[in-house]
Amino acid sequence: MSSLDDLYRRVIMDHYQKPRNRGKLEESDGLIVNLNNPTCGDSISLSLKVEEGKVVDAKFLGEGCSISMSSASMMTDAVKGKPVEEALELAHKFSDLMQGKEIDDSIDLGDIEALSGVAKFPARIKCATLAWKALEQGIKAARQE
């Protein structure tokens, strides 16, 4: 079961059981991105508050497996308070991580590093990236406003 233990790390299950930043922002207070993974049924509703080039607040609601929900929890935790550029940079790093690429040490991934095992389970990569896709869409929408 060693590779399973690589996938289901304790910190992942902790985020799954006790999701951080679960909820939604008022529409007047931020923008909302709804994303589905149509092949598996996972869904996320991400609320983002972007002000002066900074992700001031991030919350999510959604349904899905332990990987998709823990990833959303970690993502919101990681980008809150960060400049938009840094949040996007983190999204790119995460994409690299999911492709099994080496990540340089310049960015501290924190809890997110625990998801690196997902790269070995190709069928689950889309679970992990759903929340980050929503983040990228949200930032794009915020920039267009």
Partner: protein, 156 residues
């Protein structure tokens, strides 16, 4: 298929060749013939009997697993069993079963309204056919018990 092609005009072959572009699906037709021979040699009645036996064999053991819910008729099923195990998400369940070499379908099975009617986000589904064996059902059941144990530990 074409008859004559120029830069600005073309003519087509007469029907039915006009609509027969490229190589016909020759390998597919031969494969279909071989598949029919294969099924007729075994006999459809035998296949149905085998499927029903495997499903009954699996159902009997799966019912014993606490927290395992089977959807749909509890008897006289066709060769599919749709289920959920405790609060383990079917994708997580499928990944663990996969590590035992058992492939199940997990998700909404292209039937989102049905999932909503069942009041679940997703289900897992095991299906049985002529090439499956009792031993594989045993591995499935053992895998389900392991999943329960694995996620039980994780959640405790």
């Amino acid at each position: 298929m074409i008859d004559y092609v120029d830069l600005y005009e073309s003519t087509w072959k007469e029907l039915p060749w006009k609509f027969e572009g490229g190589t016909p699906i020759i390998a597919g037709a031969i494969g279909l013939g071989a598949a029919i021979d294969f099924l007729e040699e075994i006999g459809l009645d035998n296949i149905e009997r085998h499927e029903k036996h495997l499903v009954a064999y699996a159902m009997e053991q799966m019912r014993e697993i606490e927290g395992l819910k089977i959807y749909g008729p509890q008897q006289d099923r066709s060769s599919l069993i749709t289920f959920n195990l405790d609060t383990v998400h079917p994708h997580d369940l499928a990944t663990v079963l996969d590590s035992y070499g058992i492939a199940v379908r997990a998700g909404h099975h292209c039937a989102q309204p049905l999932m909503r009617w069942l009041n679940v986000t997703a289900t897992a589904r095991a299906s049985f056919y002529v090439y499956n064996t009792e031993e594989e059902v045993d591995v499935l059941v053992a895998g389900l018990k392991k999943t329960k144990e694995y996620f039980g530990n994780v959640f405790s």
